[in-house]
């Protein structure tokens, strides 16, 4: 394992110090709680948005704290959900009297820790806490026989859109129901060309031969649904887009998001985006907005995911609204 780190045990703490140093204009970091706060949190009268999860997915979530997106992000250990104490600290710190929405990716650990925190926060302070659990990954069957679909790429789009709604002063009810609508209308699927290496583990999570690809991989280096022969970008893009399209409700234009897993260069992501755009054109789906880049990553894993969100006019308007965070910025 070769990484630009000091001690594997200090990866998250050190990176938080770096984020704080680089973005002192936007962020405030509680190092004790490992929570990244929007500098001016709590904002009175604004619904507070808290997300968080394991680290190793940067810029998600900490890089999406700021105007028009999150109010706080809890940084767990690498690929390990944060603990309730962190989530409670974040919830307290963003409570501006209008309630707090927890944005949770659907993993057993994340769901349990956020639930425990919400219980504890309610008991402690009476802050009204709601939660949306994101489960957009069509690689996983949503059935009694799984922990349900995972939360992956859609998280980025949801945090942006819901963030804009909260920024615009929408109520907790409105923000919560918007979040649920976004979650219902978005689907994703990913693939990996290589594994990643969890710093504390010190070696790659899985081995993948040079002629194979993991289809349906998640964002934690967890193995995917199936291992298939390596293929050209055009075919691999189809392997992702088709199941996403199949499961995508409604019709109308989409926000199309090609996300890099961390180790794949941008030039390849654009090649994939081109194939995605071609497939969608062939399927008669209009791309209203697009996003291409490394936004929800899996350390240095090579690969990509495709997310499609069936976005109505309101969502598109919120997508276009100003955002000013380390990881996503426009209009400001």
């Amino acid at each position: 394992m070769k990484k630009l780190i000091n001690d594997p045990a200090d990866v998250v703490a050190d990176a938080l110090k770096g984020m704080e140093a680089a973005h002192a204009d936007l962020l405030r970091v509680s190092h004790e709680d490992r929570v990244i706060f929007r500098k001016d949190a709590p904002r009175q009268g604004k619904v507070g948005l808290v997300s968080g999860g394991g680290s190793g997915h940067e810029p998600l979530h900490g890089g999406f704290v700021g105007l028009g997106m999150l109010d706080a992000a809890c940084a767990g250990e690498v690929f390990t959900s944060p603990v309730p104490d962190q989530i409670m600290a974040a919830t307290r710190g963003v409570d501006g009297g209008a309630g707090v929405l927890h944005i949770v990716k659907n993993y057993t650990g994340d769901v349990m820790n956020f639930e425990m925190a919400a219980e504890m926060a309610a008991a402690e302070s009476g802050t009204e806490v709601r939660a949306v659990v994101i489960d957009d990954d069509v690689a996983v069957q949503d059935s009694l026989y799984t922990a349900g679909r995972r939360g992956v790429g859609l998280t980025v789009l949801l945090e942006k859109i819901v963030g804009a709604a909260a920024e615009a002063g929408q109520s907790l009810d409105e923000v919560e129901s918007l979040a649920k609508r976004v979650n219902e209308q978005g689907r994703s699927m990913g693939l990996a060309l290589t594994s990643c290496t969890v710093p504390a583990a010190g070696k790659p999570t899985f081995d993948l031969p040079d002629d194979e690809v993991e289809i349906g991989v998640g964002i934690h280096g967890e193995p995917g649904r199936s291992r298939e022969p390596m293929a050209p970008a055009s075919e691999l893009a189809a392997r992702l887009v088709e199941p996403v399209l199949e499961d995508l409700p409604g019709d109308g234009p989409v926000i199309a998001f090609v996300n890099g897993m961390g180790g794949t260069p941008l030039i390849e992501l654009y090649i994939v985006y081109r194939e995605v755009a071609r497939i969608l054109e062939g399927a008669g789906v209009t791309i209203a907005r697009s996003l291409v880049g490394n936004y929800i990553t899996s350390l240095e894993m090579a690969g990509c995911s495709v997310t499609l969100l069936r976005a109505d006019e309101a969502m598109l308007g919120l997508w276009d609204a100003p955002v000013h965070t380390p990881g996503l910025r426009w209009g400001r």
Partner: protein, 212 residues
């Protein structure tokens, strides 16, 4: 050495031994988790039990139940992931079950075990055969109870629980996961032992070695 009861000192001895064993087995637990999960179970538990031992090390004058409660709080506050709330809840409920008793007898420990395992069940909602830590907890609890009912003492019951947990762990190998991260793999999750069941077996083996 305990004679059929468990004192705070015994518990602290168990926790220290457990933290050492987890530290030693961390690489193995993480490897199991790499195969069907995300390669962090070993480092998660290592961090957690280290913190727990540090948190309760000085609590020699505190009743066992309070010590276990503190362990639970510490695990919840330091592990994260799925195993943090699960092991945390186990210890919290164990502790609550023990109340203020200064010494725990075999029946009391059985009740605490039951409360803890029910906590795991309530949090995780796993069923038997879902390939989770519950597949080690459930048979262990049954074996403990059966041993006592059959005339065994604390020591033999703890040994029976440990053996049953190990069997439960081994039985997870062929299962297809239906809960937790391994469930994403579908059929591909078969052929590997569940990391959580493995750490639960380790925990109960340490209990048999140090409390029995």
């Amino acid at each position: 050495m305990p004679h059929g009861t468990i004192t705070t000192d015994d518990l602290l001895g168990w926790l220290r031994a457990l933290a050492d064993a987890v530290h030693e087995q961390a690489g193995h637990l993480t490897e199991l988790d790499a195969a069907i999960g995300d390669a962090d179970h070993g480092s998660n538990l290592d961090r957690g039990f280290k913190a727990a031992v540090a948190a309760v090390g000085e609590m020699t004058d505190t009743p066992p139940g309070k010590v276990l409660g503190k362990v639970g709080m510490t695990l919840v506050g330091s592990i994260g992931g799925a195993s943090g709330p699960l092991y945390g809840t186990f210890f919290l409920r164990c502790g609550t079950s023990l109340g203020e008793t200064p010494e725990v007898d075999a029946a009391g420990w059985g009740a605490a075990l039951r409360a803890g395992v029910e906590g795991v069940l309530a949090r995780g909602k796993a069923e038997r055969g879902d390939k989770t830590m519950y597949d080690a907890w459930a048979p262990a609890l049954e074996a403990y109870d059966a041993d006592l009912a059959g005339g065994g003492d604390l020591s033999s019951a703890l040994a029976a629980a440990a053996a049953a947990a190990a069997q439960g762990r081994d039985a997870t190998v062929e299962l297809v996961a239906r809960k937790g991260r391994a469930s994403y793999l579908g059929e591909r999750s078969a052929g590997h032992a569940d990391p959580g069941a493995t750490s639960t077996a380790l925990l109960l083996q340490c209990a048999a070695d140090t409390l029995g």
